[in-house]
């Protein structure tokens, strides 16, 4: 890459390499900064340090094996990515998912949204020097991960759910853990908010830091909490509801300045909204099956595989990736932790997708980062990055 020009206005600026591995950037991001003292004059971002060719990989994998790729996009909220992929395939094959499975998905997605926002908000606090809140609130993230562990056996890269529904019903133990989380979380979040929200140091460090106007944010393709912090009330869950989100009542919090404090506050309020969605989903949880009747995509019961001919055939076909998929092109978007996570899938009827394109919100809004930090202090640039919640996995695919 080319070093930025550092001799404009007849001044000699210094060049500073921020990253690729820098403890303050929480991931592998490189920014070559042109500095005037502590002021940033220009910045050039380099991305791609953990590029893993997901789009190419996806062209070589059967549909049910792509879920594990999506885990590794935004690894702070893998379940949302998994569900987004399942729903894309379900849209392609025209599957109807039972209400119960949809509500279970909503619970999981909102739990992982909370986990995602906990990471982002506490890390903003850490970057301003408030370590305590981070340690306190991570306890609840741990509880969420224990719920995931109970439901699917994994914690970080969950591979949760299947095409056609969920792999199994929530066990009594899982319900117990969800209940435990729901009882404890409000207290913990309130405690964190009372530590940080109106903290003088925190406010001084975040208000008017890294602001972006609504118009600019839209031009740069912002979605999710970062766009809402700038004052645009766009949320995929409301604009194009999926997985029964139209059944739930929740507000979309918006900010005004699009600065770090607004991004923090929007995420904070979204956690409360997610909490209320989970409450509603638990209260109104319908009875019924936890997966659709899709023998061609949904693995049969192991018992049946040993005793029934048909189940054995389908089991074999699914495992070997020989399922027939209709031709067509489909786009499905979910509201991920960072914004609109879209899957554009072209199927030519073969065993693997012909083309799969991920609309990765991080990748799209990270290009505004140099623009946002120009003219600010170096330490504010760090805060701006953590408040945008740039996740390297999603950025680099």
């Amino acid at each position: 890459m080319t070093a930025p020009n550092n001799t404009y206005d007849e001044k000699n600026y210094s060049t500073l390499n921020l990253g690729p591995t820098h403890p303050a950037t929480h991931g592998i991001f490189q920014n070559v900064l042109t500095m005037d003292g502590e002021m940033i004059v220009d910045a050039v971002s380099t991305v791609g340090y953990i590029h893993r060719a997901f789009e190419k990989l996806a062209e070589h994998r059967p549909y049910n094996q792509i879920t594990t790729i999506t885990d590794r996009l935004n690894y702070c909220s893998s379940p949302i990515n998994n569900m987004g992929w399942h729903m894309t395939v379900e849209k392609l094959i025209g599957a109807e998912i039972p209400k119960r499975a949809q509500y279970m998905r909503v619970i999981i997605m909102e739990l992982s949204r909370i986990a995602d926002h906990i990471v982002c908000d506490t890390v903003i606090a850490v970057d301003t020097g408030a370590m305590t809140g981070f340690l306190h609130l991570f306890q609840y993230r741990e509880w969420i991960y224990e719920i995931f562990e109970e439901i699917c056996g994994a914690r970080l890269t969950t591979n949760i759910g299947r095409i056609g529904g969920m792999e199994r019903d929530f066990s009594p133990k899982a319900w117990e853990k969800i209940d435990h989380f729901m009882k404890g979380f409000p207290k913990g979040l309130k405690e964190f908010q009372s530590l940080v929200d109106r903290n003088r140091i925190f406010m001084d460090r975040t208000i008017n830091v890294g602001p972006i106007t609504a118009e600019k944010a839209l031009n740069f393709g912002f979605t999710g909490p970062n766009l809402r912090a700038a004052g645009v009330d766009y949320d995929v869950r409301v604009a194009n509801p999926y997985s029964s989100y139209e059944d739930f009542k929740f507000d979309i919090p918006v900010g005004t300045n699009g600065d770090t404090y607004d991004r923090y506050s929007v995420r904070m309020e979204e956690m409360w909204q997610s909490y209320s969605i989970i409450e509603q989903a638990i209260k109104n949880m319908p009875d019924g099956a936890f997966h659709a009747d899709l023998p061609e995509f949904y693995l049969p019961e192991k018992q049946d595989v040993y005793s029934k001919m048909e189940a054995l055939i389908y089991h074999f076909k699914i495992v070997m990736g020989e399922t027939e998929v209709p031709k067509g092109e489909v786009y499905h978007a979910v509201e991920g932790g960072n914004g609109e996570l879209g899957f554009y899938l072209i199927s030519d009827g073969g065993r693997t997708p012909f083309r799969l394109h991920f609309r990765r919100p991080c990748f799209i809004y990270y290009q505004a980062y140099p623009e946002m930090i120009k003219g600010s202090m170096l330490s504010d640039a760090i805060l701006t990055m953590s408040s945008m919640n740039v996740i390297a996995g999603e950025l680099d695919a």
């Binding site: 791609g48 190419k56 839209l218 393709g221 609309r359």
Partner: protein, 168 residues
């Protein structure tokens, strides 16, 4: 959503005539296939039209289809969004391998800057007028475009991965 298809189709037909090759629904998306030279004008028109006002570029991506006819080897897909009215459409255009030049749209939608770099990186589209059309996710020294179908999943140039034992 099919009202939207009809509305956009009427507008494009009256304004651009035969540049619109086809208009149909694919699942919940109206999809318009355009002649290559008209894409940028159509995008400007769709953004500036007061009724449609597609102010947001959701995503764009390249497509390589080597089994198609010569003039349809490569394709580009643009997805536009009007948030207040919740209009979403997809535009597609196809071109031959020898002619991968496209006018950049990063001056209309700044967000296309990195998207175009990504599609250049993986498919080799040449976006004319782009300020910094360089590789973004792959290394700068790479001399091929890896998302084209002729390139296998694994790098054939690797000598450290002979795998004699497992017969790859």
């Amino acid at each position: 959503m099919s009202e939207l298809l009809q509305k956009v189709k009427d507008k494009l037909e009256s304004k651009f005539g035969d540049a619109l090759l086809s208009a149909e629904m694919h699942y919940d998306f109206p999809v318009f296939i355009l002649r290559k030279d008209s894409v940028k004008d159509v995008l400007i028109f769709l953004k500036e039209d007061t009724d449609l006002n597609f102010h947001f570029l959701t995503t764009m991506c390249g497509i390589h289809q080597p089994d198609e006819t010569e003039d349809k080897q490569f394709g580009l897909m643009y997805q536009l969004h009007n948030m207040p009215k919740n209009f979403r459409i997809r535009l597609k255009t196809f071109m031959s391998k020898s002619d991968l030049d496209m006018p950049t749209i990063s001056d209309i939608y700044p967000t296309a800057g990195w998207m175009e770099r990504q599609e250049y990186d993986f498919f080799g589209f040449n976006f004319i007028g782009h300020k910094n059309l360089s590789r973004i996710l792959n290394m700068d020294e790479m001399n091929y475009f890896p998302m084209r179908k002729e390139y296998p999943l694994e790098d054939l140039g690797r000598s450290d991965k002979s795998d004699k034992m497992f017969g790859r």
